[in-house]
């Protein structure tokens, strides 16, 4: 991957920002990892994508309590996807690990240029409702 490939695309960055939105210590710690976060692998699975991340280890890890956690309940309205898209952020050992996106019915349309991201489920009313204790 060349330098531009290792940078987050605007879409990936926006999705990550949305996933990490909210006044919670874990979200704040993960947000702090974003500026120096590199992409080490991208995979298109046909129905979605996987972007594997490598944040700078000089950043402090988030105190998650578990080796792996998931930050979820962010969805996207994307042209061509009648049911929209879902996003999941995997966090390993307190660091950003992988961003996953998937369409619910259709094939993944590729990196979208137009999209609207929004909270769903418990985060629709409380963005900090990420299934972890504390704020």
């Amino acid at each position: 991957m060349n330098d531009s490939d290792t940078r987050l695309t605007p879409f990936e960055h926006d999705v990550l920002r949305k996933l990490l939105e909210g006044d919670h210590s874990v979200l704040a710690a993960l947000r702090a990892q974003l500026p120096k976060c590199a992409v080490i692998e991208r995979e298109s699975t046909g129905c979605g994508f996987l972007t594997t991340l490598e944040p700078s280890r000089t950043s402090a890890p988030a105190v998650t309590g578990d080796q792996q956690i998931r930050i979820t309940h962010v969805a996207g309205a994307i042209p061509g996807l009648a049911r929209g898209a879902e996003f999941v952020l995997f966090v390993a050992n307190g660091y950003l690990d992988q961003l996953e996106g998937f369409a619910l019915e259709e094939e993944w349309p590729g990196t979208p240029s137009q999209y609207t991201l929004f909270f769903e489920g418990p985060r629709a009313s409380d963005p900090t409702a990420i299934g972890l204790p504390g704020k």
């Binding site: 699975t45 998937f102 369409a103 019915e105 094939e107 769903e120 489920g121």
Partner: protein, 291 residues
């Protein structure tokens, strides 16, 4: 290429094509699959299969001794997997013979490979009976094929499925079986009792579903490897996942996180899995899953 006869048929082997050094093309024409230990154990217990071998690519293969003791003229295996208390209790299909998933280009069909062709009409004899089902991986069409005896020379012909299978697709896979010599190969559907296999067979044959299986099970972060092992294949695990999710949805066990999109925990092979998907016409469709 000769038709399967006698012990071949009793062993559940449908000759697909002669041995060749590189059989990767066979596997790539079908959906991914993995060994189901129960089925493999059955095959090993069968009297006419010497061994099961793996292709170079495409995963492991499963083998089952297929036969039906009631089939006219069929030399049934010593082990009847469908007998009460047999190797595969509760499994059945209405067509009596082998079930095979075959790539269209894997046969030297002397008949016309034409979906509009009518299946061989059964006369109650072996050679006129529907022998197997073939799933066209390109179109998802499930077809029956059977041998015909014309002038003493057996010929193969494809046709549409003549009957509905009373079961749900359990496994899809390919086999390579060494029965003395030569090596023979075929693709197989394993069908369990109780449902309609056709939709599921089509679903597993589509690129869309293959993508979904890869998306869900190919990502180790989803931590679903144990479930695939327990289920025997990704297809079986996915099937169990959808059934579990459907059952949960039916009793209000899934939460609607936005209009039409549901999420919840279902227990599959003793493991709790989070599934997320959409409901279309009261049918839950898994989008992704993890634990």
């Amino acid at each position: 290429m000769p038709l399967p006869t006698g012990s071949d048929r009793a062993a559940g082997i449908v000759l697909a094509e002669p041995a060749r050094p590189d059989t990767a093309g066979i596997g790539s024409a079908a959906v991914p699959f993995q060994v189901t230990p129960l089925v493999l154990a059955g095959a090993q217990a069968g009297p006419t299969i010497a061994s099961a071998v793996q292709h170079g690519t495409g995963g492991s293969f499963q083998v089952v001794p297929v036969g039906h003791p009631g089939a006219s003229g069929c030399s049934a295996p010593d082990v009847d997997p469908w007998a009460p208390g047999g190797l595969l209790p509760g499994w059945e299909y209405q067509v009596w013979q082998e079930i095979g998933l075959l790539p269209p280009d894997g046969w030297e069909a002397s008949g016309t490979v034409d979906a509009s062709e009518q299946p061989p009409k059964s006369s109650g004899t072996v050679d006129d009976d529907l022998l197997a089902l073939a799933l066209d991986p390109k179109t998802g069409e499930l077809r029956g094929y059977g041998p015909r005896v014309e002038g003493g020379n057996a010929k193969q012909a494809f046709g549409q499925v003549g009957g509905r299978v009373n079961g749900v697709l359990k496994e899809v896979g390919a086999i390579t079986v060494t029965e003395g010599a030569p090596v023979v190969a075929g693709f197989w559907l394993f069908i369990t009792k109780g449902d309609d296999a056709f939709d599921l067979a089509r679903r597993f044959a589509t690129q869309e579903t293959r993508n979904k299986l890869h998306h869900i099970f190919g990502n180790h972060r989803h931590r679903l490897a144990d479930i695939v092992t327990a289920a025997g294949s990704e297809e079986a695990a996915f099937d169990a996942m959808e059934r579990g999710a459907q059952a949960a949805f039916g009793v209000g066990g899934l939460k609607e996180i936005r209009p039409g999109v549901f999420e919840g925990a279902v227990t599959i092979f003793g493991t709790e899995v989070t599934v997320r998907g959409v409901v279309v016409g009261d049918v839950f469709r898994v989008g992704s899953a993890w634990r």
